[in-house]
Every structure is written in structure tokens, then in C-alpha cells.
């Protein structure tokens, strides 16, 4: 019995140790962002702030320099919002309709097309980077937010289609057949049978897409211009800005600001976040 109790203690010890490992960077970011530069230079990384200061947060939000532009993260944060919201909604709507067709309105060649879409989920985006840069130029969308929305919708389609297809495929086809007999058409069936039961998968899709698009850096850094950079690109520019004294506290405040939206989503709707993560990887 005693050896068993000892084992339990050891188990909890290990689990708590790992919790500390995962929490440490967040702790360090938060405490550093609340210290003065003087205290950072003289104190310890892991120490709590002796004197709280919120100045780094104000600076990160509205005056820190990203490259030559010294307006803080604020304009870029809004760029990310303006980019993410339409891109998330569009890719989810299109994915829902696509998934509905693949699950319930099969036709010859549908399987092959579905496989082609699935395949597209796995390509490294480097392989489309060069032609997309040219294409956005031709379309007059280079360096604009609509251009970024376009890119995110196109390359998000694969996953959203997969989510909805796998969700709708569990609904018996007799239901659709019966509705057809009653004279309901494609959109009518979608609207009154499928949409009402779709809230969980819409949540999964929206959270997945939002996290992907908000956190994206590759497309952002490749296709944005000075006025349209998303928050991740601006954060990287602020941190690597070489002008003036290195303000570690401002860097950390900026990092937390950039992370807040997706962290918030995770805290509020973690269950759906995990379902999105596992949906693509666990056969279901």
C-alpha cells in the first residue's frame, strides 16, 4: 500500500513538473512584460516583478517600431482582424457546401476529386509561393488584405471541406432521399435538415480556420505590403527591430497581444479546438 502511495506521489510530481515546463514561457513573457528595463537587466528571468509597470504594454500597442513604422501593433492587429474574419467565414461556408455534396450527393468522379482536395491539404505552401506572388500581382491584389483573404480561403478549403464531409457522412442518406421524394431541392435540404444540426462542426471549422489564419506567418510575410501586414509579421519586425535600445519588456507585451485572440478562443472553446486538431489526423 505504501509503495502504491509513493507511486501516486511520484506520478503527480512528474505531471506537475511538466505543467511547470509548459507554463514557464507564458509566465516569463507575462512577468517580463510587467518589469522595467532596469529591473530586467539587474534581476532574474524567473523572478516576479518588484514594481509593476504597464508602460511596455502601452508602448507595444501604440508606439513600438516595426521596421520604420512606429505605431505599435495596433494597426497590424486590425489588419489581422480584417483578414481573418472574412477568410474564416468564406472558407467555412464553402467548406460546408462542398462537404454536403461529397457526403450526400455523390456523383461519378467525386471520390477522385475529394482525394485531390485532401492531397492539397498536405502540400508544403512553398511550392505555391512563387506562382501565387505572380498571380496576386496579375489580379492587382499584391500587398493587399483582400489578396491575403483570397489566399487563405483557397488554401483553407481543403480542411473545411474535410471537416464537413466527415460530419455529414454520418447522416443516413435515406433522410435526403425522403426529402427529395417530398419535393425538396438541394438547397432546401441543406437549409432545413443539415444546417440546423451543424453547429458543432461549424464551431470546429471556425476555430480551426481562425487559429490557422491568425497565426499564419508565411503567407503574411510573402504577400503583404507595408499597409497590410498581419500581426505576426509586425511582431517579428518589432522583435527584430535594430533601432534603439532592445526593449525586451515591450517585445514580450507585443507577443502576448499577438497571442491573445487565439489563446482566448482556446480557453473558451478548447473542446472544439482539440476536435479540429484531431479531425484531420484521426480516422473518423
Amino acid at each position: 500500500m505504501t509503495s502504491n502511495t509513493l507511486l501516486r506521489w511520484g506520478l503527480y510530481g512528474i505531471l506537475i513538473l511538466f505543467a511547470a515546463f509548459y507554463l514557464m514561457p507564458l509566465f516569463v513573457m507575462l512577468t517580463t512584460s510587467l518589469k522595467s528595463l532596469e529591473e530586467i537587466r539587474t534581476g532574474s528571468l524567473l523572478a516576479l516583478p518588484r514594481e509593476l509597470t504597464f508602460a511596455p504594454w502601452a508602448e507595444a500597442w501604440s508606439t513600438a517600431c516595426a521596421g520604420t513604422q512606429c505605431e505599435g501593433l495596433r494597426p497590424f492587429f486590425w489588419n489581422s482582424v480584417l483578414m481573418a474574419v472574412p477568410a474564416v467565414l468564406l472558407s467555412t461556408i464553402i467548406g460546408a457546401l462542398n462537404g454536403y455534396v461529397f457526403a450526400q450527393w455523390r456523383f461519378r468522379g467525386a471520390n477522385l476529386f475529394f482525394a485531390a482536395i485532401l492531397f492539397g491539404c498536405f502540400i508544403p505552401f512553398q511550392v505555391v509561393l512563387l506562382p501565387m506572388a505572380q498571380m496576386l500581382g496579375l489580379m492587382g491584389l499584391a500587398g493587399t488584405i483582400p489578396g491575403l483573404i483570397f489566399v487563405h480561403v483557397i488554401y483553407g478549403l481543403g480542411f473545411t471541406t474535410l471537416f464537413f464531409r466527415n460530419y455529414y457522412v454520418t447522416i443516413p442518406q435515406e433522410l435526403v432521399r425522403a426529402a427529395k421524394v417530398d419535393g425538396a431541392g438541394f438547397f432546401r435540404i441543406f437549409w432545413s435538415i443539415f444546417l440546423p444540426i451543424s453547429l458543432p462542426i461549424i464551431t470546429v471549422s471556425v476555430i480551426w480556420q481562425f487559429t490557422q489564419i491568425w497565426n499564419d506567418f508565411l503567407f503574411g510575410v510573402s504577400f503583404s505590403g507595408p499597409g497590410s501586414q498581419p500581426v505576426t509579421v509586425a511582431l517579428n519586425n518589432i522583435v527584430n527591430s535594430t533601432t534603439g535600445v532592445k526593449a525586451y519588456n515591450v517585445d514580450m507585451a507585443a507577443a502576448i497581444i499577438a497571442a491573445l485572440p487565439t489563446l482566448l478562443v482556446y480557453v473558451v472553446a478548447g473542446k472544439y479546438f482539440i476536435r479540429g486538431l484531431t479531425a484531420g489526423s484521426v480516422k473518423g
Binding site: 505531471l15 431541392g185 497565426n215 505576426t232 511582431l235 525586451y248 507577443a255 489563446l263
Partner: protein, 290 residues
């Protein structure tokens, strides 16, 4: 009108079909073609054989990038799997506050890799970071300066990437553990089989598909790793922590060498497909049989 009614599903899919055809497959074809030309700053379309690939494999920087991919990818995948499986098994022992611990283990996955890189860059800062903190505790000779040592910097990327993704692997394995038939486990317990044997002989073998899934996802993350390197080391010191993704980006956007960018992108795709195609094939086949 009747034609339209019968073909609504196809009409709905048509825009996506065109988009995937052009922006995925057409673009891959374009990149593939450019990789066989003499393109530099501007695309040129005359076929030129495998010259770009010869240049690529002769470039010391690409050599470093590919080596780093194998070091980083190998360690990242193995360590994340070991930690993920261990945490999942530990959490499966009727742990109090399991929900809280799970939430803590998984939150890094919600962060941008730029944020992760920024945080770890600060923690690993030799002057003011963890090294200084430990020295402050009285260990004057403690050294942890991997970030600025060319031969060690790649391991800082492993560290940050494992921090980010191992909780996700835990979630995958935990879901797998929970789906194992409890009847079998109870029967084994009744027969007096020790817990570690139950796991090694019954539970883990039934989770083979999850090992495969986790491997695919992690390998995919490793090959695409770009943001983390940019934020944590910027590819440096020198180009010591370059990965294929950062090499490709440097060629495309700062060196203006389209041919090298295209051929390195094609190699990246080749590596991913070598891993993913067998997996997708096995995933799709049973569905077709339905």
C-alpha cells in the same frame, strides 16, 4: 432548367474544383517547370534540364538545411511522441484535476510559432535569460548558450518545437487510450496482469493507427517549419539553423533566385509526399469500399 436542377451539386463544387485545379495543381506544375529552367530574378520558360537541382545539391547552405531537417525532424518527432505518450498514460491513471493539466499541456498549440519563437529567444538569451537566472542561484559556471553556438542552435529549435507540439501528441494518444475496450483491460486486471504489461501488450499495440497519425502530423509540421526558425534564430548564427523552408524563402524573396527557390520547394514536396502518400492511400481505400 431541369439540367441545372440535376446538376446543382456539381455546380456548387465547380468553383472549388477550378480553384484547386489552378491554385494547387496548376501552381505545382508551374513551380516544377520553373525548377527545370534557368530562371533567376525573372521566370524564364525554356527547358534547361536538371541544372537547378545540380546547383542546389552542390550548395553548402542547402546541405546544411537538409542535415538540419533530419536532425530537427528526427529529434522533434521522437521526443514529442515519447513525451506525448508518457503524459497520456500518466493522465489516464484517474488523475485528479486531469482537465486542468490537459488544458495546460495543450495551450501552446494555440499559439503562433512567431510567439513561441519570440518567447524562447528571450528565455534562451545567454545574457539575461535562463543561464543568468541559474547563475544567480549560485551556480556560477552554469552555461546554456545554445542559441549563439552554431553547432548547438538547431537544438533550441527542437526544444521550442517540442514545447509547442508535445501536448497535442498527448491529446491524440489520450483519445486513443480512452477508446480501448475497457472490458479487455478489466479482464486483464482480474487475471492479475501488472499495469505495465497491460499497456505494453494490450493497449499500445491497438493504438498503432494513432502512432501513424501522430507521426504524419509531426513530420508534416517539421518539414514546413519556417516561422519558428525565423523568430527564434533567424536561420543563424550564419546559416547554421537554416531549414529547407527558410532556404526556399531566402532564395525566393531576398536572393531573387527563382530557379533555386522552385527546385528547393519541389524537394520539400517530394519529402512530404514520400511520407504522406502511403498514409493517404491507406486512409482512402477502405472508404472507397463502403
Amino acid at each position: 432548367m431541369e439540367w441545372l436542377e440535376r446538376n446543382v451539386p456539381k455546380v456548387v463544387l465547380a468553383p472549388s474544383f477550378v480553384a484547386i485545379l489552378v491554385f494547387v495543381y496548376g501552381f505545382i506544375a508551374w513551380t516544377a517547370w520553373i525548377s527545370f529552367t534557368k530562371s533567376r530574378l525573372m521566370p524564364r520558360y525554356e527547358f534547361d534540364g536538371i541544372g537547378q537541382y545540380e546547383r542546389l545539391f552542390a550548395a553548402p547552405r542547402w546541405d546544411v538545411a537538409m542535415n538540419n531537417l533530419f536532425i530537427f525532424g528526427g529529434l522533434f518527432i521522437v521526443i514529442s511522441m515519447v513525451i506525448g505518450l508518457a503524459l497520456a498514460i500518466f493522465l489516464d491513471q484517474k488523475i485528479r484535476a486531469e482537465g486542468v493539466l490537459r488544458t495546460i499541456y495543450l495551450y501552446p498549440m494555440a499559439l503562433s510559432l512567431i510567439v513561441t519563437g519570440t518567447a524562447w529567444k528571450w528565455i534562451l538569451n545567454p545574457g539575461l535569460g535562463i543561464q543568468q537566472a541559474v547563475r544567480g542561484w549560485g551556480f556560477e559556471n552554469f552555461t546554456f548558450d545554445w542559441l549563439i553556438r552554431p553547432e548547438m542552435a538547431i537544438y533550441t529549435i527542437v526544444l521550442a518545437a517540442v514545447w509547442q507540439a508535445s501536448g497535442f501528441v498527448m491529446a491524440l494518444f489520450l483519445a486513443g487510450l480512452r477508446s480501448v475496450d475497457t472490458e479487455i483491460i478489466r479482464a486483464a486486471q482480474v487475471d492479475g496482469i501488472p499495469t505495465h504489461r497491460i499497456y505494453s501488450a494490450i493497449v499500445i499495440p491497438t493504438m498503432a493507427p494513432i502512432f501513424l497519425s501522430a507521426f504524419i502530423v509531426l513530420a508534416h509540421l517539421a518539414i514546413k517549419a519556417f516561422d519558428l526558425v525565423i523568430a527564434l534564430t533567424g536561420g543563424g548564427p550564419g546559416y547554421a539553423t537554416d531549414l529547407p523552408a527558410t532556404y526556399m524563402y531566402a532564395m525566393a524573396f531576398s536572393r531573387g533566385d527563382l530557379g533555386q527557390a522552385a527546385s528547393s520547394a519541389m524537394i520539400m514536396m517530394g519529402v512530404i509526399f514520400a511520407i504522406v502518400v502511403p498514409y493517404l492511400y491507406s486512409e482512402l481505400r477502405p472508404r472507397r469500399d463502403q
